[in-house]
């Protein structure tokens, strides 16, 4: 089975305001987008399991046909840049998505 890394052209994470990090998975091939969208490997529950968070920490999950994109947003454990921060821009939280296998 191909990994998400091999199907998507953009896989990124970034702050959305000071309390959230948002993730965009974007495909240049509409066929690859529909394959991932319809496979169910990306869902609110799947994301919560992967990131070891409660499902309600995934505040948004949506598929965006016009952009061939799947988007989800996580509530941060603390506001961005507070003491104890590991990633002030939220820009390195996406790599675990690479290895998701897509049937």
């Amino acid at each position: 089975m191909p990994r998400l890394l091999e199907l998507a052209t953009t896989i990124r994470s970034k702050n959305a305001g000071v309390d959230h990090i948002t993730f965009d998975i974007i495909f240049s091939d509409p066929e690859a987008y529909r394959r991932v969208r319809d496979s169910g490997v990306l869902s609110r529950d799947a994301i919560a399991r992967l990131y070891n968070v409660a499902p309600e920490t995934v505040t948004h999950f949506m598929t965006v046909d016009a952009a061939c994109a799947i988007k989800f947003t996580l509530q941060r454990p603390r506001p961005s840049g507070s003491p104890g921060e590991t990633d002030v821009f939220g820009s390195q939280q996406y790599p675990p998505l690479f290895d998701i296998e897509v049937p």
């Binding site: 970034k14 309390d19 948002t22 965006v64 961005s80 840049g81 507070s82 003491p83 002030v88």
Partner: protein, 461 residues
């Protein structure tokens, strides 16, 4: 007016200098205005809370200089949002001073600058909170007086109305305090009578300049054109293209929700957007809808100091030590506890373990540890002396950590430098809330400054 073209040279003026090649290619197309945002809450709470620079003044000056000189030569408006990273009063005044210096240096003919301020006084906010609820964003509870009390500085994010007022006041250059980045682009199109939904959508896409184009390049200029029926985007770097995919996907960027985008006074509904390729490099978008908000509200951002901060570093290479990592950290924490008491009461100690989960913390799904580990120690305490003491204790007790089977008796950690570094104080975002306003102008006073008059009197161009 049938169409209006705005030039967007950067997503964060001064963060890194604007690339000049595509900028001057854009200027050669004679846009109707030059617009750039200079702020972001991405940089963390320190610059707002302490009211300090984040970007170097020299880079902010560079970006303002090439924009101002081009705008005045074209005779078109220039609008700058969220001056100097945070949009505090200090940032607005700094940018006005830089504009005055640049005008003098280039002997620019006279023009009028509007400075729009966006700081919120704590007592004024407390008085408003007695009359109205200040709703929390990001899952926060409504704003309470004790949260305001531990906030050092607050800004409100202005909508389009104060900018329209400044333009009506004859401003050629508008320097905004904290401002909604879509609004700084929407102001001139709205004033010229273009549809509100398209004007704000134009801002949403232009606010990060070349990030709406592909391949990925930052700080390159993009032109956005608005008509009564659509908006159109064209990159000025020859290697970039604005495609339906690049523009549509930029609509997702740095936002929680893909289809709804709230701004002061309403929201953009993007469900019905249609993205059309005009040619290899240009994409046209129609169909965004404007949904008015029942209440006019502006976002408040506030940052408060948590404590003084110190950091130290230690590296591990011994596989026995790495296997005993949790016990080693436990030992170091115990030694800190013996001198400073329980963490969380008066001080905090963070131990970031690179090679295990230093980047993702509790979100890291991989449970492996690398053959070499970097440990960043971060201590926060009421005084810098205490923070330095805590960080040093933790670092040196990693060096002297005890674990069963240890072979290296000359120290079990590598210190790249045997010192503790004082860091900037720790701040946190205390306020991320929505404040309802009766009048969109009420928090945002405008000051007009006539610039360049002496140059004219002296016979300048």
């Amino acid at each position: 007016m049938e169409r209006m073209t705005l030039l967007s040279p950067t997503g964060h003026l001064g963060f890194t200098p604007i690339e000049e090649g595509s900028f001057y290619a854009g200027v050669a197309r004679r846009p109707d205005a030059l617009v750039a945002d200079s702020g972001s809450c991405d940089i963390g709470p320190y610059p707002l809370g302490a009211d300090q620079q984040h970007s170097p003044v020299a880079w902010q000056r560079h970006d303002l200089e090439i924009m101002l000189v081009a705008a005045r030569r074209l005779g078109v408006p220039m609008i700058i949002g969220s001056a100097a990273d945070t949009g505090t009063n200090r940032g607005v005044d700094l940018f006005v001073t830089l504009v005055q210096e640049i005008a003098q240096q280039h002997q620019l003919p006279p023009f009028r600058v509007a400075a729009i301020y966006a700081e919120v006084d704590r007592d004024d906010l407390l008085a408003r909170m007695r009359r109205t609820t200040v709703v929390g964003l990001g899952g926060r509870p409504p704003l309470s007086p004790d949260v305001v009390a531990r906030t050092d500085r607050i800004v409100a994010m202005m909508g389009v109305e104060p900018i329209l007022q400044a333009l009506d006041g004859g401003a050629d250059v508008v320097i905004c305090g904290r401002s909604c980045d879509d609004a700084i682009y929407a102001a001139l199109p709205l004033r010229a009578g273009f549809p509100r939904a398209l004007a704000f959508y134009l801002g949403k896409i232009l606010e990060c300049a070349s990030l709406c184009a592909e391949p990925f390049m930052a700080k390159e200029t993009v032109l956005g054109t608005i008509t009564h029926d659509y908006v159109e985007f064209e990159p000025m770097h020859p290697g970039q293209r604005c495609t339906p995919a690049s523009v549509a996907s930029h609509g997702l960027y740095e936002r929680e929700d893909a289809f709804t985008h709230a701004v002061p006074g309403g929201a953009l509904d993007l469900h019905a957007c249609v993205y059309t390729r005009v040619d290899e490099r240009r994409t046209r978008v129609s169909g965004p809808r404007w949904v008015p908000a029942p209440t006019y509200a502006v976002k408040l951002e506030g940052a408060g100091k948590v404590g003084e901060r110190a950091v130290a570093f230690a590296g591990l290479r011994d596989p026995m030590a790495i296997a005993a990592l949790d016990a080693m950290i436990g030992w170091a924490r115990q030694k800190v506890r013996e001198r400073h008491g329980e963490p969380g009461v008066g001080y905090e100690l963070f131990v970031h373990v690179f090679g295990r989960n230093g980047v993702m913390g509790a979100w890291e799904p991989r449970k492996t540890t690398a053959h070499e580990v970097g440990i960043l120690i971060e201590a926060v305490a009421p005084t810098l002396d205490q923070a330095m003491d805590i960080a040093a204790l933790a670092q040196r007790n990693l060096f002297f950590a005890r674990f069963p089977g240890a072979r290296g008796t000359g120290g079990v950690a590598a210190l790249p430098f045997d010192e503790v570094l004082p860091a900037r104080p720790g701040y946190t975002w205390t306020i991320n809330h929505l404040l309802p306003l009766e009048d969109p102008l009420e928090l945002f006073p405008v000051r007009y400054v006539e610039v360049g008059a002496r140059a004219r009197a002296g016979g300048g161009r």
